[in-house]
């Protein structure tokens, strides 16, 4: 894996982590509201997968954190404005952080009803196929979300029409308070691929290289016109389901065990041992992240709340 790519992935993972830590402060201090579902612990899966894309590809992200947007290059200031319900964000306070959008980056938005992502991603794949374009769709979703009927309908439709869609399950073992085994008869989501005659791949979602490799191969397959791939990344949600979640439904030991596999620490060690970064470089990256976030926060604070009457605009073209 290319060094520049690895460093870029590391930088974005750190930036995402720092941003979520800051967002937690903003929410706790009442400077921002909104339904924020932190992605702490899943950054390797999210960032590495998106780095494997090309600029022209489409992205359907999941509800789990900011790393998708950071990886794709959405300005942090805009993300914070969406969080705070201000102008200057991506959706003018209409949809908040649940609907961050950036068509110019291929980011198609989010469905607040889980599983709404699958048919939309399918339709984007249909566009690519019909228009014969050189791009793919990457669709993230959680293990719990994989139990919506839309998963089944969409994977079958994509597979039978050989649409260029990569489905990436972030299996973090939980859906809010429900462990995967309690809700999901076969906790290996990738085993469902056989039912659609498509490849099903399981990777360690906290291992940057495995994720990057799997998504790259799935992307290539999609571009060869061979259709979708179902990738499952095993990972873990280190924070609560949302900011404010009592998180009293998981054993502390379980959570602590996974902190020891914190993907940022894991990846950092590798980069250090491979000599790609040293302590100075690491501190610099983290300092740069802090500075960038500071700028974003003041941008957000400088932005006005939307004009109330503007709520009436833009329902129809």
């Amino acid at each position: 894996m290319d060094t520049k790519v690895r460093l870029e992935i590391y930088r974005k993972m750190v930036l995402s982590r720092r941003l979520e830590e800051r967002i937690a402060e903003l929410i706790k201090s009442g400077q921002a509201g909104g339904f924020m579902h932190p992605g702490v612990g899943q950054e390797a899966l999210q960032v590495a997968a998106i780095e494997a894309l090309r600029p022209e590809d489409y992205l359907m992200y999941a509800h789990r954190g900011v790393a998708y947007w950071v990886a794709r290059g959405v300005s942090l200031g805009k993300i914070l404005c969406d969080l705070a319900g201000k102008e200057g964000g991506t959706n003018r306070g209409r949809g908040g952080v649940m609907h961050v959008v950036a068509p110019e980056l291929g980011i198609l938005g989010e469905s607040g009803t889980l599983g709404g992502c699958f048919p939309i991603a399918t339709g984007a794949g249909l566009s690519i196929k019909v228009k014969n374009e050189d791009r793919v769709v990457l669709c993230f979703f959680g293990d719990g979300t994989s139990n919506r009927g839309t998963f089944h309908e969409s994977l079958n439709l994509c597979a039978v029409r050989k649409l260029p869609v990569v489905f990436l399950c972030e299996n973090n073992g939980w859906a809010v308070s429900v462990p995967t085994e309690t809700s999901t008869a076969n906790p290996d989501i990738a085993d469902r691929a056989k039912g659609y005659n498509i490849p099903g791949v399981i990777v360690d979602g906290n291992e940057v290289e495995q994720v990057y490799e799997a998504v790259s191969q799935a992307r290539a397959r999609a571009r060869r016109g061979e259709g979708p791939t179902l990738i499952e990344g095993k990972t873990y949600r280190l924070w609560g389901h949302w900011i404010g979640d009592p998180d009293n439904y998981r054993a502390r030991e379980e959570v602590e065990k996974h902190w020891r596999r914190d993907p940022i620490v894991v990846f950092e060690r590798k980069l250090l041992s491979d000599g790609l970064i040293d302590d100075a470089k690491r501190d610099q990256i983290s300092a740069q992240a802090k500075a960038e976030i500071d700028r974003a926060v003041s941008y957000m604070q400088s932005q006005p709340f939307p004009n109330p009457e503007s709520a009436l605009e833009g329902v129809y073209v």
């Binding site: 489409y58 964000g89 991506t90 959706n91 003018r92 306070g93 209409r94 949809g95 649940m98 609907h99 959008v101 950036a102 068509p103 198609l108 938005g109 469905s111 607040g112 009803t113 709404g116 699958f118 048919p119 939309i120 991603a121 399918t122 339709g123 984007a124 794949g125 249909l126 566009s127 690519i128 196929k129 019909v130 228009k131 009927g149 839309t150 309908e153 969409s154 079958n156 439709l157 039978v160 029409r161 605009e313 833009g314 329902v315 129809y316 073209v317």
Partner: protein, 324 residues
Amino acid sequence: MRTITYAEAIREAMTEEMRRDPSVILYGEDVANFGGIFRITAGLKEQFGDQRVFDSPISENAIVGAGVGAAITGLRPIVELQFADFLFTAADEIVLKAGMWRYVHGGAFTIPMVVRCPSGAAGVGPEHGQCPEAFFMHTPGLRIVSPATPADAKGLLKTAIRDDNPVLYFEHKLLYATKGEVPDDPDFTVPMGKAAIRREGDALTLVAFSAMVPKALKVAERLAQEGHNLEVIDPRSVSPFDRSAIIESVKKTGKIVVAEEAYKTLGVGAEIGAMLMEEALEYLDRPLRRVAIPDVPIPTAAALERFVIPNEEKIYSACRELLS
């Protein structure tokens, strides 16, 4: 002008628009090889190929949701649901996705898609025979069209396909075989949101759309012979909804009957009644009458269906009551 059927008018509209714009595609169950279970799409696959016209699995959520996904990425999909009732199986995709994806994302996208929905009671019960316009009229973000004539079927479908908003297009199964004159001009379109005054009069305002229009016109003729000149208004689309056409007419007539093939409670007639109470109260000299399904699921047996679906007799007596 040529005389063609409502079914042919729909097919013509799709054919012309697909020829005109390569981004228009069509899919749904049995639409390609079979030409649709009502034969509306016959020949389109042969003309436009199996990438632009294809058979989908029986997966209504994916059918509708993929339409939204395709629409926000540059296509203009026409999706056919085999029966309008199946909108319920895809209600999240219809109401919260098609209807709101643009708004919640701050206007980042347009959603130029059309969902074709064969509607109407035909001895097939409440899962294959409803006219669910009113359900979706409550939702912001959707356009809802219900043509009653071949000319409107063609003109409104062309407008719907060219429109950048999601459109639910209700085609009544019992109208497919009806004939009417349709202009030859390939650019003939009918705007959404503009009611058609099917018949001018000052005795009473009779509002009807879709398959209720021919029934309303027969009733109007019968009452004309009895010396009452009815004004028959066909809104043609309930979103956008030509409120002023109805209000203006009622200011003239002071009386209104609404005939529709929906359940009475919160049918389109409810919105019309409330709107008139808001904006034309002083002009109303008689109570509202709603001729609609008496709030029971549509039964299958002909003997029962006939009893619950509005017919000329029921529309006639509602009008008669107000005129006496």
